[in-house]
Symmetry: D2
Subunit: 433 residues, 4 copies
C-alpha cells in the first residue's frame, strides 16, 4: 500500500503526536461517521463529576489507532514474528472500534437494547456509510474483515487480541486518556514500557515476565479508574437520571411532529426501531437540545428531571445492601410520601453488571479466548498467569462485588426524618465506602 | 461572611485542585447560568484543529476564580496592602466574568451585534436569573457592584485590574488551560511565580522587576498561543464557515414553527431580538443540533455548508494581501465560475480586528486605564514599562499586522488552473507564513 | 516568632516551589551540616541503575520541611485542632531528620554500626555544630526538643507522627521525589489530596475514609518504588560491591598517613571511632575520590573492586532460595575455582532486613506507636485500620518475603559451565522474578 | 552492522526512554571514559542556585545520542535523502561529544587553558583509552572519523551539523534537560515537532517554514535558560569563587606529596601539564574532596574560600557597568580597607565572553559554516534566514550585551557605608536587571 506523500499528525495530550502514514487511515478519519465521534463525550456523564472530562470518542479512537501502530512498530524493531499482511487491518480496526457508540454511552445502549459493538459492525458493513466505502476501496470485502476482527471472529487471533483483550490498545489508550483528562493521576502507568514488553507468542499477545510490575501498575490503574472515575457516585448520578429522563420522555412525548422532539432521529429512537442513518444522526448535542426543550415541557416530571440534569442538581447516592423486595417497596413508599413518584425519583444503580470485569484470570494454562494476562518466561519458555504470581492482582481479581447504590433527590436526603427512615430501611451505614 | 462547613474542591488540569470556601461561590457555581457554561466550548471551533480543545467555559471560569483567590492569598502572605473588604467581590467577578458567553463565542457575537461582556452584565443584573438572586442575598445591590467591576466602572481599580488587565486572572488561566488542553506546550509559563511577584502599588497591580523574565515568558506565551491556536487557519476556517452558515440560515429559514429550528431560542436569535431568558437557552448543542437538521435541508447551500462543518470538510485558507475592490471582485468571479456562490464560498477572515491586542504598552509613565505591564523597581521605588526594558517584548509589541486570509472550498484549491488564477489575483506567495 | 522580611523560595521539581517564612528555617538551611547534604545522593548507588537518580538529600530535606508546612496549613484551613505552639518544632524536625545521613546511605551505616538516626541526634545535640547553635537561639533547650521528636520521645505524639509514621512527611516527599527523578512514573500519587484528607484525631494523624483509594494509591506507590527502584538488582549490585570495597580497604590500608586515604575523616572511619566533626567531613565525594585512588592500589582485589564500581562493571545477580550452609559453601567453591576470592566475589544480599516494612498494620484497634494507617469514619466517629477494608493493601501487607540474591562477577555468569553449576546449587530457576 | 540481540533501554526524564540497538553504542557507554561523566555535574555550580541541578553529563550524553537517533529515524520515515552510511558515526559523535569535559566545566577549562573540545579529541584519539579501542574495533581509523566530526573537519557536513549547529542534538537535549532538572519550565519547547520539521537540504539541516513558531519557541527557550539558569547570579557566584579557589590553591599548595592534594591528578593539574590519563582521573568528587581538605588548611584565604563554597556562603553580585581602570582600582581599595585581599575577594565576572552566542544569524543567503537557522520554503524551494522573518528572534539576535558583575563578600554588601561607596564607584543602580 502506498504511503501518503508526507506524514500527517494530530497533537494529542496522551501520545504527544498521532502519526498517520497510510491514506486509508487518513480517509477513514475524514468520514462522516468518524467525525461524528467528535460530538460524543468519551465518558458520558462523567463531566458532571470531573470538569475536565469533556474529551471526545474521536480523540480516543485516534489514540487506539496510534497504540496499535506503536505496538506493531515495536514488534518489528524487536524482530518478533508478526503477520505484516494484517498491519492495516489491525490499525483500521483500532481506529473504528467505537464508531457505533451512542451518545452518553451506556444509558442509551440499555434503552436501545443493542450494545455499541453491534452498531459498529452494522455501520462498517452498511454500503451507504462513508466508512464502508473507504474500506471497500482497499479491496472488496475488506469491510467484512474489519467487522470480523471487531466481532472477534477473525481467524488471525493476534489481530483480535490487539483490539480486544485485557491488554488491548483500547484499554491502554482510554485509561491514560481518561486519567489525564480528569486529572486523576494514579490512573497512569508506563505505556511505553508496556508496549516494549509485549510480544506475540503462539497466537496471543503476552508480556515478558521481567515486566511484571509494569503490568501490575497497569491493572491497578484500571482498579483506581473504576473507583475514582467510572464508578464515581456523581458520574453514576448523571447516568441514572439520564435513564429516568428517557423513560419519562418515552411515556410523555406525542406522535411526530412533536415540537419537543428536536430531530427526527430522536423520534425514531423512542420508537426503538433505529436504522443506521438515524443512529448516526444521534450525538450528545441532540440529547442535550432535547433536554433543553423538555425543561419547558408541560409534564412536571420530565421538566424537573431535565432541569436537574442540565443544572447538575443531581440525586444523592446512598449505599444499598438489601435486595429484599419488601424493603425496597418500603423505601419507595417513603419517597412517595415525600411527594415524589418513586418510578423516577427512587432509582437503583448497580454498576457491577455494566462495567465490572477488571481482571478475571484464574486458570493456570491458557485456553482460547480466555481473558487472562499471561507472562512469558523466556528461560523456561512457558506462560504464567498474572494473578498466580502477583498478590495485589490476585486481590483485585477476586474482588467482584461492584457497587449498588440508591439515588433519591437531595431534598429528601437533607430532611433528617426522611433520611433516617431510608437509612434504616436501606441498612445503610453512614460513611460506608 | 461565614465559611462553608468544609472546603469543596474540584479536580482541575491546570491548578490541580480548585478550592471553594465561601458559600456564595459555591451557590453561584450551582446556578443554571454557570452550569450552562459546561455546554459551551472554551475555544469555539478550535476543537476542529486540536482534538483536545473540547474544554468548557465552565472549567475556565472556575480557574479564573481560583487564580483570583491565589493572588489575594499571596498578597496576604507577603503583607501587601490589599482591601480585604473586596475579597469576595473580586472572586465573584472572576467566576462570573464569562457568564454571558454565546456558544461558539465570537461568530455568534458578531451576528448578534452584542459583545459577551454586555450579556454578562445583563445576566448579572436581571432579577430573574439565579446568579442575580444569589448575589443579592450577599447584600442588596451586590449584583451591581459585580457588574461595575466587569464594566470597569468600579471605583476600586485594584479589583478591576485583577479581572481585566494585561496580567488579569482571566488571561493567566486561559493561556495555561488552552495550552494544556491543546497540547501546545510552549503556551506555558510559571504561573506560581507570576502570582508571587505581583503586588498592589498605587491602585494598580504591578510585578517586581526581578521577575522580568517570568513576565516575558508569559507575554510570549500569549504570542505563541495566538499563532499556534487562536489564529490557527483550521480554527479560523471553522469560524468563517460558521458565519456563512448563520447568514444562509437567516435567509432560508421560514417563520415559526419551522421543523428546522430545533429550539425557540434559535428562532428568536434569527430575529435578532434576544432576551436574557432565550439567550441562556443557547449553547453549543443547540447550534450543532440545528446543523444536524440543516444538513438535510432542501436548500443546497445550507445543506452543503452544514455538512462541511459537521464532517470537518473545511475551506482552504490562502494568505491575502490585497484590499483592492476590483481584485477581490475578480477573485469572487473565479469562484462563481467554478459553480459556487461567492457570498458563501469565497470568504475573507481578518483576525487582527477580533483578537489582536497582545501587547500595546508604549508609554513611559502610567496613566489611568493604560494597558501596559509595569515593573516595580523596589530600590528606586518607581515603575518601568515592560517593553522599554525587554527587547523581545518590544519586538512583539510593535507587531500588529494580524492575519488576513481568503477561504475557498478545497475543491477549488485542488484544481490547478483555478488555484493559479486565484493565486495570481490574491498576490499570494505560496508557502507564505 | 518574627517572619522574615519577605518569603524565600526554592524551585523544586516535586512541590514547584518551597516557601520559607521563618528565619530559623532559613538559618538552618544555611548551616554547614545541612549544606553537606547537597553532596550526598538521596538514593546511594541507585544512580547506577537510573541515570536520573542523582538528586541529593538536601533537596529531599527541603521537601520534607515543605510537606510538614503544607499539612499544618491544611489543618488550619479546615479548622482542625492542632497545637500551633509546635509549628516550628514540626517544621524544623522535618528539615533536619536526615542531617545525620552517611554518604551512600545504608552500606556505610552497616559498616559504622550506627544508624543515621543516631547521628542525626548527635549532630543536633552537639554544641559545636551550627545546627545546634541556630536551634539554641530559638530558645535554650530547643535542640533537645527537636532530637526528642526525632527519637520519637517527644510527648506531643502528633508532631512525632508528622515526621515518623506510615504517612509521615518523609515518605510523602521521598516517594514522589525518587519517582520523578528516576522517571518511574507509577510511584506517583495525589499528594495534594493526601494532605487534604489528613487530620489530627485523638493524638494521631488519620485520614478521612472517603479518601481510601487515594491512600491505597500511596501505599501501592511504595510497593512499586521498592520493586522498581529500592530493590532494583543493579542498585543492590552497587550496594554489595560498596560493602566489599569497604571490607577490603579496611584490611589493606596502612596506618596514617597513607597516600591512599584522601581525607583524615576516612582514616578515622576505618578505625570505627568517628566523632561528629569527622563524620560531617564524609560525603559521597570523599568516598568516590578514595575509590579513584584505590583503582591504582597495589592490592589486586581492592584495585579491581573499585574499578568495577567506578566503571559500573557490576556483579550479576541470581535469585537465591537456599540457606543451607553446605550449599552456600559449595557455591563459594565454584567461585574460588574460577579464580576469585569468594569473600569479595560471592556476595549475598538480603534486602528485606534492610528496607522492607512497607505496610504491617494488622490490628483492629489503634494502640500507641502502632504503624498502621487509620481511616476516620466521620459518621460513626471511629477509626478503621486500612488493610481491613482494602484488598490490595491487605495483599501487600501480608507479603513480607523480601529479596535474597547472590552476586558474582559477570565473567562467571557468562561462562556456561560455571553458570550451570551455580544455578544447580542455588536452586535458581532462570527467569524467576 | 549487526544489531544487539535485544534493545537496551535507559529510563530518562527527558526522552522517556533511551533506546540502544547497536553494540558499539552499548560498548562505548560502558567505557571508563563515559562512566566518568556520571561523576561530573552537567551544570557545574548551578546546583548551588537550583537544588535540582544535580544531573550528570552522562545522562546528557545519552540524550544527545538519542536525539541524533530520533532525527535520523524521522528523516527515514519521511523519505528524506540522508547518507545512511554515516548513521553510526553520527550517533557515536553525539554520544562522545562531551567525553573531554572537565569537572565544574568552564572554570577548570579556563585554568587549564584548553577547551573541552580539545580534550574530547585527545581522548578519542589516544590508543590507551577504552573509547578509542571500541571505536577502532568498528573499523581501523574510525576514531579519527569521529574526532573529525567533533572538530567540524569531516567532509560530510550533514553529520557535523547534527552535532554542532544552532539546531544540533546537543542543544536540543541540554535545553530540555536543564529545564526539567532545574524546574525552570519555560525552557521547554516542542522537541518532537522540531525533529519532525527538520530535513537535510543541500548539505545542511534546515527546518520547514511552516514550523517557524516552533523554532521561535526553541530559540527563545535558549534565551530564557541563559537568563534564568546559565547566567543566574548565584550560579556565577559559584563559578567566580571556584576560580579564586584554584588560583589561591596554586599559590599555596606545596610540592608533592602534599597531604592537602587528595589525588595525584590534581597535583599534575596545578603544574598545568596534564596528560590524558590524569585528566580522566579528575571529576567533581576530587575537587570537592580537595575543598573539604582545604577548609582545614593553614592558609586563611584558601580555608575561607573553600568553606564559603562548601557551605554556600557565596559572594554578593552587583551589576558593574564601568570599565575604567582607576575606578576598578578604587573599588578594590574599598575591599582591601574592609580587610579582604581584593585579588580573591573582589571579582569580576563577564559571562558574555563565555557563553553568549545564542543567535547570531544575520546574512540573507547561507554560506558554509554560518551559524544561522534556515527555514525551507517548499513552494519557492528556497531558504530564508530565521531572524529576517521573526521579530522576536531579530530582537534577541541583536541583543549581545551579556552580563558583567562585581562579586564581593556579603559582609561588605551588608555594611551600609561600604555598600554605598562601592555602589557609587560601580555606577550601579540598585535593582538594575
Amino acid at each position: 500500500m502506498a504511503m501518503t506523500e508526507e506524514e500527517k499528525v494530530f497533537k494529542d495530550p496522551v501520545h504527544g503526536y498521532i502519526y498517520v502514514h497510510h491514506p486509508v487511515i487518513w480517509d477513514l478519519i475524514n468520514t462522516r461517521e468518524m467525525q461524528r465521534l467528535r460530538r460524543i463525550r468519551q465518558l458520558g456523564t462523567t463531566y458532571l463529576a470531573y470538569p475536565g472530562g469533556d474529551h471526545s470518542r474521536f480523540s480516543h479512537s485516534l489514540g487506539v489507532y496510534e497504540v496499535v501502530r506503536q505496538i506493531i512498530s515495536a514488534f518489528d524493531r524487536n524482530g518478533y514474528e508478526w503477520p505484516h499482511a494484517f498491519d492495516v487491518l489491525a490499525m483500521v480496526s483500532g481506529l473504528l472500534h467505537d464508531v457505533g457508540h451512542a451518545p452518553f454511552s451506556h444509558a442509551l445502549e440499555t434503552f436501545l437494547g443493542t450494545r455499541h459493538e453491534r452498531w459498529t459492525v452494522r455501520i462498517i458493513e452498511d454500503p451507504a456509510t462513508e466508512v464502508h466505502q473507504v474500506l471497500e476501496r482497499v479491496r472488496p470485502g475488506f469491510s467484512r474483515e474489519v467487522s470480523a476482527v471487531l466481532r472477534k471472529d477473525h481467524p488471525e487471533k493476534l489481530v483480535v487480541s490487539l483490539v480486544s483483550s485485557q491488554l488491548d490498545a483500547d484499554r491502554l489508550d482510554y485509561l491514560m486518556r481518561d486519567s489525564i483528562a480528569t486529572g486523576v493521576d494514579y490512573g497512569k502507568f508506563d505505556l511505553a514500557r508496556i508496549i516494549r514488553i509485549m510480544r506475540p507468542y503462539r497466537g496471543r499477545i503476552v508480556v515478558r515476565r521481567s515486566g511484571i510490575h509494569t503490568v501490575e501498575a497497569y491493572l491497578l490503574a484500571r482498579y483506581f479508574m473504576y473507583w475514582q472515575v467510572y464508578f464515581h457516585p456523581v458520574s453514576r448520578a448523571g447516568e441514572v437520571l439520564l435513564r429516568a429522563i428517557l423513560e419519562r420522555a418515552e411515556a410523555v412525548l406525542g406522535q411526530n411532529p412533536d415540537p419537543y422532539v428536536p430531530h427526527p432521529a430522536l423520534a425514531q429512537f423512542f420508537r426503538r426501531a433505529m436504522d443506521v442513518r438515524n443512529f448516526l444522526a444521534l450525538d450528545d448535542s441532540v440529547l442535550l437540545t432535547a433536554f433543553n426543550l423538555w425543561r419547558d415541557h408541560a409534564d412536571p416530571i420530565l421538566k424537573d428531571l431535565t432541569r436537574r440534569f442540565l443544572d447538575r442538581d443531581l440525586f444523592q447516592d446512598l449505599p444499598l445492601t438489601t435486595r429484599d423486595p419488601e424493603t425496597l417497596a418500603a423505601i419507595r413508599e417513603v419517597v412517595a410520601e415525600a411527594g415524589y413518584d418513586p418510578a423516577f425519583y427512587c432509582l437503583i444503580d448497580e454498576t457491577a453488571t455494566v462495567y465490572y470485569d477488571y481482571y478475571l484470570g484464574n486458570q493456570s494454562t491458557p485456553k482460547e479466548d480466555d481473558q487472562a494476562v499471561w507472562l512469558y518466561d523466556r528461560d523456561e519458555d512457558r506462560l504464567i498467569e498474572m494473578s498466580s504470581v502477583s498478590r495485589p492482582i490476585q486481590a483485585i481479581a477476586e474482588e467482584s462485588r461492584g457497587v449498588r447504590r440508591l439515588y433519591v433527590p437531595k431534598e429528601i436526603w437533607r430532611d433528617p426524618p426522611l433520611r433516617a427512615r431510608i437509612r434504616a430501611l436501606s441498612q445503610w451505614e453512614e460513611g460506608g465506602a
